[in-house]
Structure formats: C-alpha cells, structure tokens
Symmetry: C3
Subunit: 159 residues, 3 copies
Amino acid sequence: MNQPEPYQSEIATRIDRIESRFAMQDLVSDYCHGFDKRDWDRFLAIWWPEAVWDIGPPFGKFEAHAGIEHVVKDILWPAWLASSHFTTNLVLTFDGADKASGVSDVDCIGTTADGQAQTVSASYFDRFERRKGIWKIAHRKVTMYHFSPLPGVTLSPPE
Amino acid sequence: MNQPEPYQSEIATRIDRIESRFAMQDLVSDYCHGFDKRDWDRFLAIWWPEAVWDIGPPFGKFEAHAGIEHVVKDILWPAWLASSHFTTNLVLTFDGADKASGVSDVDCIGTTADGQAQTVSASYFDRFERRKGIWKIAHRKVTMYHFSPLPGVTLSPPE
Amino acid sequence: MNQPEPYQSEIATRIDRIESRFAMQDLVSDYCHGFDKRDWDRFLAIWWPEAVWDIGPPFGKFEAHAGIEHVVKDILWPAWLASSHFTTNLVLTFDGADKASGVSDVDCIGTTADGQAQTVSASYFDRFERRKGIWKIAHRKVTMYHFSPLPGVTLSPPE
C-alpha cells in the first residue's frame, strides 16, 4: 500500500539529521587537520565569515575570518614548531534542523617555538549553523584544563 | 509503483540501527564529560539502575546507582584533582535491535590527589541495552594497561 | 501518493553511504584493537589481500597479507612490549559508491622492547575499497610526526 506523506517526510528528516552529524564531526576534525597540517584553506573553511573563536587565556577572543587569520598566522602558528590535536567525545545537540551545539575534548601534544614539548587538554564548546545546506562553526569557545611542559622530552620524527 | 511493505520496514530498521549507534557513542562520550567535568547528573544518566561497573584493580566492582555513586563521589573524585579521559576506537556489535556490545580505548591524563601527574591507558568493554526507546549501559568492564606517574610534570591551566 | 522510483533510490543511496562510513570507521578502529590487543585475525581482516602498508621510516613498505604478517609478527610486535593507539579526526571522502579515502590522526603511547616509554604522533592516509559488499583497506600510508622517548616514565598496570 501507499506510504502516507508523513512517512517519507519522517525518514528524510532522520537521514538529514544523521548526515548533519557527520558534517559537524568533519568540521571538528578539519579544525585539527587544518591547524596541525598547516593547511590554511582547510582551516578557514570550517568557520562562517562572522564566526567568533574565543580561545581564552592567554590568547583572547577573535572575530571573523580576518581575526581568525590573524591569530593563526601571526600568533599560533609561530608559537608552535609542531602540534598534534586529537579530538574525542563529540556530543551534538540539535536546536531544530539548522542549528546545533557540540562539546568535544581535545588532547594535544607538540613543541612550542622555544623547543619545549608541551601537553594540552581542553574542551571545545561549539555552535554550528547550516546555511543553504552547508554546516559551519558560528562560535567556538575553548576551555583549557592544562597547557604544561613535558620536561626532558624532545619530540622528533624517526630517522 | 508502490514499494512493498518490506522495503519501508528494511529502511526503517537500517535507520534505527544507525541512530542507535549514535546513542551509544554518546553514552561513551558522556561518561567522560560527566566524570571529568564533575557533572553527576550527566554521569549517572548513562547507566541502567542495576548496571555493573567493573573497574578492576585497585578499585573493584560496583553495582547499581548506589554503588556507582559511592565509587565516584567517595573514591574516584577525591582520588583525582583533575582528569581528562579521551575515548577512541569505539566498535559496536549488535545482538538484535535492543542489545549491543562495544569496545573502546581510553587515553587519560590527569593529576591525582597527591599532586602527581598520571597517564592511564585502558579499554572499556560495554554491554548496552535499549528499553522503551532509550539506550544505556548495563555493564562496563575496564581493563587497564597502565596507570603510571609522569615524573617532573605539573599539569596546570594557562595564566 | 506513490513516491516515484528515484526517491527510494536516493534514500537507499544515502543510507548506504552512511553505513559505509561506519564500516570504514570500524576498519580504522580495528587496526588499533588488532595491533594493541595482539589479535592477529582482527588485524588481518581489515586489509584486502593485495593491500599495501607504507609505514615509512624506519620500517618501510609492506605488501599483501604475507608482507603485512611479516612486519607485524617479525618486526613490530617484537619491537613493542605494549602499545596503545588512539585514532581520532577521521575524515572520509567518497569516490563513487565503492571507493573512499580517509585521513585520521593517531596518538600512541607504549613501551618498546628496550623498556623505554615512547610517545608517537602520526597520520594515516587510507584508500578503502568495497568488494561484494565488504569494505577493507587497499592502501595505508603512515606519516609520523614524532616517535620519541618519555625519559623517566615507566608504564605499568595498577596493582
């Protein structure tokens, strides 16, 4: 027999919700790929033009593509010789079809410009928005639990 | 032409399976958010009332909400000044529509009450059950590979 | 009213794409479970028979099940007393229904055969293929950012 209209509509909504989840997971992952692999286009692509990135102390809050470009290219990339960010525990909460919030936890290891190995633990609190079918980050707040040296550790690639 | 009944039924089953996966991923993530962010309601919500949490040595096995509340509030939260659990590699295996098992690997860094930075690696072996449309953990077994100090490391937030 | 054929076809394609994502996530996870838990069958099952595993320096490139078995059983498992690999940030890109590429970042901690605790950071660049409904890895390239000792650290399980 025919399936009534609402059935197809419900199935389409549920699939759209699932695909949106993957799109948002990719934003969270591409933040790391863009930043650590120093791929500027990949990094910029995750943010809406007016997005706010609230990094917290000691860095501050940065707005819009110009502000985000400034903090990455003038402050953060020079501050790190190399970094590896590993994001985990992403939990998404929808607010209708085109808005969602997310929380994830990041484990980071790397070497700052002074040659010191560092360990960082933080959480990312995100607000995502979909516009014309595309999801991006509208707001990211970073809460850092630690940013601390690993004395005596030198991080280098294998020969 | 009409799609026969079995088609819609198969599609609905496959979507239900996918949504169940996300529900279980969220349980695994919320264990970390609840524990590390010290959000008791979030932590408790992942467990069925009679759930068993087998933490292994040196902690032991704890049963039901009362046992789980005891170990967290009386033993584990006092044992840690701060902790960051990063869960990865979750693989789920279904046993029908309402039961599943999962294995995941957790990387943890934190500071115990004595002020010592620690590194922990473990796996979580979970049995999940769905009741009245809600997935929760019925049994979690922890296998710890290491729980060891990081000498000379002090974990603290940035200024 | 009847849904035209293309509708069901589109829904089925979208669900197939989602299920494929989970299958590939499981391959990336099972690489870790197989290797770290020393489960050879689980490890082997992720690779197509002629798959290439390009580990890079100092290990090299290994081909097909025989080459992969050799490097794991004769080189890597003897080289590590214990290892914990945590994969994160998996981003998948499809090339039609039966091929995809993936990038993920792995954080690894463990102890080499000399008793030294090590920290490793790397990325995995994968080519996945689906044959007769089953996804496996056809090619994995490893790029290592660091493979370095943690001086003074001894990783051991709790008593």
